[in-house]
Amino acid sequence: MKFTLSWLKDHLETEASLDEILYALTDLGLEVEEVVNPADTLGAFRICRVIEAVPHPNADRLRLCRVETFPGGPGSTGVEVQVVCGAPNARTGLVGVFAPVGTFVPGTGVDLKPGVIRGVESNGMLCSERELELSDDHDGIIDLPADAPLGMRFIDYKGVNDPMIYIKITPNRPDALGVRGIARDLAARGLGRLKPQVVEAVKGSFASPVTVTIDPALKEKGCPLFAGRVICGVKNGPSPAWLQARLKAIGLRPISALVDITNFFTFDQNRPLHVFDLAKVAGGVLRIHPAKGGEELLALDGKTYTFRPGMMVISDAEQPESIAGVMGGEVSGCSDTTTDVFLESAYWDPITVATTGRALKINSDARYRFERGVDPAFTLPGLELATRMVVDLCGGEASEVVMDGAVPDVSRAYKLDPARVQSLVGMDIPEAEQRATLEALGFTLAGDMATPPTWRPDVLGEADLVEEIARVASLTKLVGRPMARAQVGVPKPILTPLQMREKAARRMIAALGYNECVTYSFIDGASAALFGGGTEAVRVENPISSEMTHLRPDLLPGLLQAAARNQARGFMDMALFEVGPAFHGGEPGEQHLQATGILVGATGPRDPFGARRSVDLYDAKADAEAVLAALGAPAKMQVGRKVAGWWHPGRSGAMALGPNMMATFGELHPKVLRALDVKGPVVAFTVLIANVPLPKTKTTTRPALAMSGLQAVERDFAFVVDAKVEALTLVNAAQGADKVLIERVSVFDEFAGEKAEAQMGAGKKSLAIAVRLQPVDKTLTDEDIALVAAKIVEKVAKATGGVLRG
């Protein structure tokens, strides 16, 4: 909402300074976004006189001017300045406008500097109106009458010293979409007096030749009141200078007197109006009715709209002429040749207007106001004020008012409890002041009941009364008051086990050397499809870009895309991770928490030790295990090969407890890497944090520690097995040989490949394990050990078909 200070003063009698007004507006909740104050931008430009203008000694088209300037203002002593000027009208005796060195010239966008032009000094500028951005006039420099007061600021002389104020209006304050409403708020704050507004009816001298009807289907809700009158014999042309200046100051283009008048009331009173050219209204009727569907209208914005069934339109006897409350039609719009008009003032239902406007994608000043709610009681007074202005500015004779429907009754009252301001806000405001504030805002008080004014549709309860009082008194006065602790003593922990685990996973992965990323929750459909997503259920209807069309099914695609971006910048090795939601469906709650890390390229930079190598699946596995351990997962779990299709089928695995999958790790499928343009190798892990079981009971007591005094014995075994026998099968078999004595079995060597097959036969490999035996009650004899060893060999043979390597 834009307005100017002088416009505000039409409604507000005030001595307050601009700064006081701006502060109050923001503090009242009418947040000032921008102020354009000509005194700040154009205050340095003053009226001057050219003492003498002579040709420039070195340039034909330039003149050398001795200029008398008055930096001290009117009546001060003149100061002579030398200026080189190229304007054709620069001449001796000219009274013009001077900008001293150091002034910012809006039209050129630069600060004036002292200069030397073709060998002659120039210390300032004689200006055109375009250089001040006051008009497009650049034929010559400003040429004022000889009696123009020397030294006066040009903006004062020209009458354009009127600050423009742009405020952000929250959706609850339609009343502040009119200058009068803003003035009312300021008056309530004590910044002046709201000038009374007298609405004198313009007496109609003939019956309206146009009749209006509201379809019964709309009377109840869509259009409670439609009023208007015919004005005959108007002369439409440019509106007067004051009106044009007003509109221009707030960024509107003056069109014609009739249109400018409707725009004026839109901003002055938040009362949108519409003027029909009577010559274009067929059959002398205007009907407000729901569209049948399929009708078309060329609207004032030059576009043709097709109505859906039920949309509210205004039609004459033949066709739609206006989209009710949203935008008028081009055909019945006013032109310079218009002589007879129908002036409309209606009260449209906010929801109906909003629905139609949104469906047709029209954003107009009228829609913006009607959908927030204009003052229904002002429908007829607004019509009278506008009629008066039309008759005053365009002449003509008004008919009687014609209308259908009635002003809707919006009266309601709420109890004013003076103690509520204290209990809800915590401010101490005397009851008399509370009542005075409400009355200044237009509320009617009867005892302890307050009736909101018709222009405040947002006031809908007692809390709103409190808000109005507190807002006008100023919330800056609010003093903080300590909030009691929720409990006495040391606070209890507040994080849930899952929240703790999310934090632990994040910290653990960072400790393992990964950099945490936060990538977008949405990605492109093609990338999503690589990871089992990209379905219709997770599609965003109105994505902001083609890169962000679907909710991510997994954290991997986002991280891989990040890796590709970093590779494009020359970073080939990296460890990235993210902890966040992935979406397995489009319904609320169809998301799950993942902790995903990727390792790309080599383990580290080249070094003198030759430690650098490509990352492999065992790096990812170790990190997955470390994360699971940090989350408290049991040490023993099954490792399976059933993984999703975006993993390398031979080089990836899943860690599970029964059916409960906790993590996946391994190499990414080469096709996926190619599609996402990531240069491999890439290994990754994903831990499903919520799938790690929580301990069944929480106790701080650790199980007792049994430490044997007897020395443990370690024996190594090497087995020849089929190449596809998995180490874990062998380890588990050995472990099962003696559940008491065998403390640990670990793989310490794998010998596979061509050389191994040459030694042990095609399709064979060797796996070597170390078995640690912990005696329980006596030192082991050689026979004891031999017995266990034989059992191990037997169990391994049974489980894997392996034999001891000779």
């Binding site: 809390a463 800056t476 903080g480 050397g513 950099n515 209807e541």
Partner: protein, 360 residues
Amino acid sequence: MDALSDLKAKYLTAISGAADEGGLEELRLAALGKKGEVSLKMRELGGMSPDERQVAGPALNALKDEIDAALRAKKAALGDLALDARLAAEWLDVTLPGRARRVGTIHPVSQVMEELTAIFADMGFSVAEGPQVESDWFNFDALNIPPEHPARQEHDTFFMARAEGDTRPPHVLRTHTSPVQIRAMTEKGAPIRVIAPGRVYRMDMDQTHSPMFHQVEGLAIDKNLSMANLKWVLEEFCRAFFEVDHVDLRFRASHFPFTEPSAEVDIRCSWAGGQLKIGEGDSWMEILGSGMVHPKVLAAAGVDASQWQGFAFGMGIDRIAMLKYGIPDLRAFFESDLRWLRHYGFAALDMPGLPGGLSR
């Protein structure tokens, strides 16, 4: 006895001149071996008279001990020399780099979430969560934003696609963390104190906007909570979060459909020299929106508005992270540029807490 002193002199001289352990061993055998000169002399003791033996025995033993001691000392000295030589040969260049170790980092958003959790936990707030795909009821209606309310348009909402034939209003990507208010109150009732940090989504992308960003919602409901309590809680939060001794907050009347009265909150700051300083100066910067929870919102969550009242606030996490740590560009938060992650990230062990302070 001269023979013994000659022997002694001979061997001690030889021992001190021995060049290596081998030579030393030869000398030992020559003197003390089975057929060594000293050993042979010992054998002669048997043929002596008791008187002679009494004199010669101790002298011979003393000679044997002396030579033995000299042998040992020389052996130790030779060993030390050999070790010195080996150590000198084992010189390594200590200026070579240590074996590289990857250094991980925590994203500023995660770090700041933990910081604010630490602060609000101390004031008794727990952490609530909610889904990021929300029904429009939770995201709007329950928060007193009915379907045609103009505020809905201002939310720049992302909608989920609706399958044909599914006539429900489309789900939305939550535009704010406020729907968690409803979920938390519905689940736990009143009194309640929760914060809800998390991702939110708006259809907006330019220098200062990202289609995804992070908010933290705060909600406190009790019998007698007022806006003055809200102001105190926010003052305490800002003081602790920005790690300054004093902050000044200014409440400014505003409007949010879910609070009544509503206020936008500005914090006093200075931009002198292009450097933001919180708590001093003459500038005010908007940092959050807040207000007293609207009775309709309480009702939507099944809380009796005649019994309970309280406040709510919402704050941009990315934004306060930018302010606190001097991070210039919001969009870079989500670009995962390694240089950015390393520069603005936090160490894994930098765990924010009140006893040790939020940041190093």
